[in-house]
């Protein structure tokens, strides 16, 4: 009976979805690379660029931050470069802007990740908010240098706060899916 259930349609679909679900640090680097492309494609083609005319939704950036926490540097740094390239080749953002921001975030998270624990969700929120703040600050600095600083008004400020909050929520969601894939003893502690 169990065997019939396992091979039935819905279960098979669940297994396929589980295999392609963008879980940060899936254990297979090629699958992680595929996830980066998948998330970039979703972010760039399906998600509206400005929700309610106010804020932008990032899914790749929070996913990357969670990935940087879980994965070793030999995986994090190439993925940081790849994700940066994907972000930059989709707009007229200056070449290297996201790459350098992601690189710095990957290295920083590598050194502080041992302080994060599943016991408290607070540090995860702070970590994600700080990382988003870093990327947004860097973007803002580049805009101030290369473009018109006058556009950095209160509306811009509020939209970036919304953007950060949404990204924290998405990041925590991705972190929880990664957590659920760990053995129970690791989840406790």
């Amino acid at each position: 009976m169990e065997r019939i259930l396992e091979t039935s349609g819905p279960n098979r679909l669940q297994r396929i979805l589980a295999a392609f679900w963008p879980q940060p640090d899936s254990g297979n680097f090629l699958l992680d690379v595929f996830h980066v492309f998948l998330l970039a494609a979703i972010e760039q083609s399906m998600i509206p660029h400005q929700m309610l005319g106010v804020f932008r939704i990032d899914i790749l950036t929070p996913w990357l931050f969670v990935f940087f926490v879980f994965a070793p540097l030999r995986k994090s740094l190439p993925l940081a470069i790849l994700a940066g390239l994907l972000q930059e080749t989709r707009s007229t953002a200056p070449a290297g802007m996201y790459m350098s921001a992601y690189w710095s975030a990957a290295v920083t998270l590598h050194f502080i990740r041992h302080t994060l624990s599943w016991r408290h969700v607070g540090p995860w929120n702070v970590m994600l908010a700080s990382c988003m703040a870093w990327v947004i600050s860097f973007e803002t600095l580049v805009i101030a240098v290369t473009q018109d600083p006058g556009r950095l008004g209160w509306k811009y400020g509020f939209s970036q706060i919304f953007r950060t909050l949404i990204a924290v929520g998405i990041g925590v969601f991705f972190a929880r899916t990664a957590k659920n894939s760990l053995p129970p003893e690791d989840q406790v502690g």
Partner: protein
């Protein structure tokens, strides 16, 4: 690994994290240009997913508009019939004007835009609300699109091809901050350089004495940039004077609404100035420059 090596590795990593932003800020801070490595990574791999999504969204949208959202269609049809009757009368007049313009152009020695030198492309993605404005079109290097080619719409200038993939290209929009275009004021023939500005507007710096009015039309000068002369760019929206009392800033609203664009035309016409440089310095120089991001 020894403790010393581990320590050195840590220092190197921390140094790289600190230096990376400064390294970037010391660069030219120009977007990726050209048609090779980054296009392959950034466009070709994502292309199947994006085109599938775009096709599905377009299909659903057409089904909705054609079969479901038909309330008020009869009334609209009636109004449209009246409009068609008026427009047919106007069209006859315009046809005569077009013939007259063609004759005058011929007399002046100006070349017309030839349809065979245009390539119609579908807009398959936009980043208009982003801080760095670009859109993606459904034609690439396989169709003969090259970086630097002008992109227009029936309403006016859209932008310029900045990167090309095999089957798609990225277009830097007129309203992007990094975009410059040589323009003329249609009424007074005053010339200036227009560049992108915030909130989907453009800006033009002119001398204080230049004769300009709100509502004036801005057209391409055809001198540099590869755009034919006389294409509509936008209309003057606001005029402000600089504190130096020497220049005035003209805020221009583009004719093209980038959010509603569905099709664009790529002109098979590169910047004539650039062509002259290529003839002198060689094609390899241009490709090197485009790849290095200075083009």
């Amino acid at each position: 690994m020894t403790t010393r090596q581990s320590h050195l590795q840590k220092v190197a990593l921390i140094a790289s994290a600190v230096i990376a932003p400064f390294f970037f800020l010391s660069s030219t801070m120009k977007p990726w240009r050209g048609d090779r490595v980054n296009a392959v990574v950034g466009q070709e791999v994502i292309h199947p997913a994006m085109s599938t999504w775009h096709g599905l969204a377009a299909y659903l949208s057409s089904v909705w508009n054609s079969y479901i959202a038909l309330s008020g269609a009869a009334e609209e049809n009636h109004q449209l019939r009246d409009k068609v009757a008026i427009l047919q009368t106007k069209l006859m007049d315009y046809e005569e004007q077009v013939r007259q313009t063609a004759r005058l152009r011929q007399l002046l020695g100006l070349s017309e835009l030839q349809p065979e030198k245009m390539l119609v492309a579908e807009v398959i993605g936009t980043r208009v609300n982003n801080l760095f404005k670009a859109l993606r079109i459904s034609r690439g290097s396989l169709d003969g699109v090259k970086a630097g080619m002008p992109v227009i719409a029936p309403q006016g200038i859209v932008g310029r091809v900045i990167r090309t993939g095999l089957k798609e290209s990225d277009v830097q929009l007129l309203v992007d901050f990094d975009f410059n275009l040589d323009v003329l004021l249609q009424r007074t023939r005053v010339r200036g350089v227009l560049n992108g500005f915030s909130n989907d507007l453009c800006r033009l710096n002119l001398q204080k004495g230049a004769d300009i009015r709100i509502g004036d039309t801005v057209i391409t000068s055809g001198i540099v940039g590869g755009f034919p002369k006389g294409l509509p760019v936008g209309r003057v929206m606001r005029i402000t004077y600089e504190s130096d009392n020497v220049s005035q800033i003209i805020t221009t609203e583009p004719w093209v609404d980038y959010r509603r664009l569905e099709e664009v035309m790529v002109l098979h016409q590169l910047d004539p100035e650039l062509q002259k440089i290529v003839e002198t310095a060689g094609r390899e120089w241009l490709e090197r420059t485009l790849k290095s991001g200075n083009g």
